[in-house]
């Protein structure tokens, strides 16, 4: 990263943090047993979003919806997320489906395809490997810790934004009036563990939300 990029990113992150803390435009959809709890804890600690439960009929109007480390997205939750996208929200949908058994993964894969138009390949166990990072290319180049398993993306239904071992594992694309950012490698646990780079990167992502 150049000095100019660093300063721009830092300023954007600080600005985003202030906006988020001030007006709480950020909502976290807590899938409860259908997600990794430490990811929920990570996003909650860092971004202090308003938390809504998955069984609620709707997600309040907001600029950003965070869906941490989803293992199982119910149709009710999926429809609520889609409504947010149509209303113009940016949704960060993080999947932890790499930790599911084969049958449960099949179900989750269908949800991602049917509701969000995302095709994912079966999970890949990354370890043993030489470097423990996922390479993100947007909004700036960053190396974030992998979380042992990833969901590689199938035929691109958006712009790939992260790669691991030559596999695309995250994308962003327009969806309705909003933007969908899909992460096939959970970042929330790194936030929870106090990873400063993960916090910087997500702050920079949120700073892109107009």
């Amino acid at each position: 990263m150049t000095r100019r990029q660093f300063l721009a990113t830092t300023a954007a992150a600080v600005s985003a943090g202030n906006r988020l803390r001030g007006r709480s435009p950020c909502v976290l959809l807590d899938l409860q047993r259908g997600c990794l709890r430490e990811s929920v804890a990570g996003y909650t600690a860092v971004f202090q979003p308003r938390v809504v439960r998955a069984h609620m009929p709707g997600i309040p109007h907001c600029a950003v919806v965070l869906v941490p480390a989803a293992l199982e997205i119910s149709p009710v939750a999926a429809r609520a997320i889609v409504r947010c996208l149509h209303a113009g929200a940016t949704v960060i949908l993080e999947s932890a489906a790499g930790f599911l058994d084969q049958r449960a993964f099949g179900t989750e894969r269908a949800v991602l395809r049917d509701y969000f138009g995302i095709t994912v390949e079966p999970p890949v166990r990354l370890w043993p490997r030489q470097t423990p990072y996922v390479d993100y290319l947007w909004p700036y180049a960053a190396k974030l810790r992998d979380f042992s398993r990833v969901l590689p993306l199938g035929p691109p239904a958006g712009e790939p934004i992260a790669w691991v071992d030559n596999l695309p594992v995250a994308l962003k694309r327009r969806s309705g009036r909003g933007t969908l950012i899909f992460l096939g490698s959970p970042v929330g646990p790194a936030l929870w563990a106090g990873d400063a780079e993960a916090t910087r990167w997500l702050s920079a992502v949120l700073a892109t939300v107009s």
Binding site: L36, E38, F99, W127, P128, P132, R145, F147, S148, P189, A190, W192, A193, G194, D195
Partner: protein
Amino acid sequence: MKKSIGDNMIPKEWGFERGLDLVKKAGFDGIELWLGDVAWFQMTTTDAEVRDLRRKVESAGLVVSNVSTGLHWASPLSARDPRVRAQATRIVERQIETARLLGTDAILVVAGLVTDEVPYNEVYQRCLDTLRPLGDTAARAGVKIGCENCNAEQRFLISPREFWQFLNDVNSPAVGIHLDVGNIHDTGFAEQWIEIHGPRITRIHLKDVLKHRGRCGDQSVYTNLFLGDNNWPAIRAALTKVGYDGWLIAEMEARYRYAPDQQFYDTAQAMDRLISGRL
């Protein structure tokens, strides 16, 4: 102080009851039972079978000093996979349950495992999150969880102050340290660990360590008491200083090639000498 030794030291072909006789004859007061490491004490062992183990221990004139396990090396509390973590938690819960059935009040837990895949900060946070509720469970059962210092093997909580801070962060009176004086190697001095942790020590594992071997070779660094580099007079003095009067549990790695029962006699005699302070 009382002497104990692990049932995983009993020669495999001997069986539990013959092993108990040996432990008693060698002069030990108690036995440490290793959940999952011996045929007679597994996760599938029923409550009735555990009670029968206790009856056999007491019939041999011994008591159970504590319940340990090596199962957390394969299923660590710090695992990323929530299913592995749930299994690790279940292992601790079963240790607590069986400790009550066996009439003891302490268990040994290997709290977390730092690897090139699962980094330190995650392990630390995850161990806190899993140990806090387990501390509540243990407190209700009247059992203490002793997190063992496996410094080199765990690559976690390497220094005594770091371990002390970890226990502060867990913040449960039912969670302390199961101090292994042989595991410290070149990262410090056992007597200083004893001083720093004092009343938080739940049990003590004894073995000696050959520091000059380090951890790089294929030879074991562990050896019998008084054959290695631990400063035993300092360790004994530190135990007196902090008022430790609980169990000393032999955890020997080296086994005699011939006459395996001799290790029990030799170890018991060495422990007697340590306890008496004739060093």
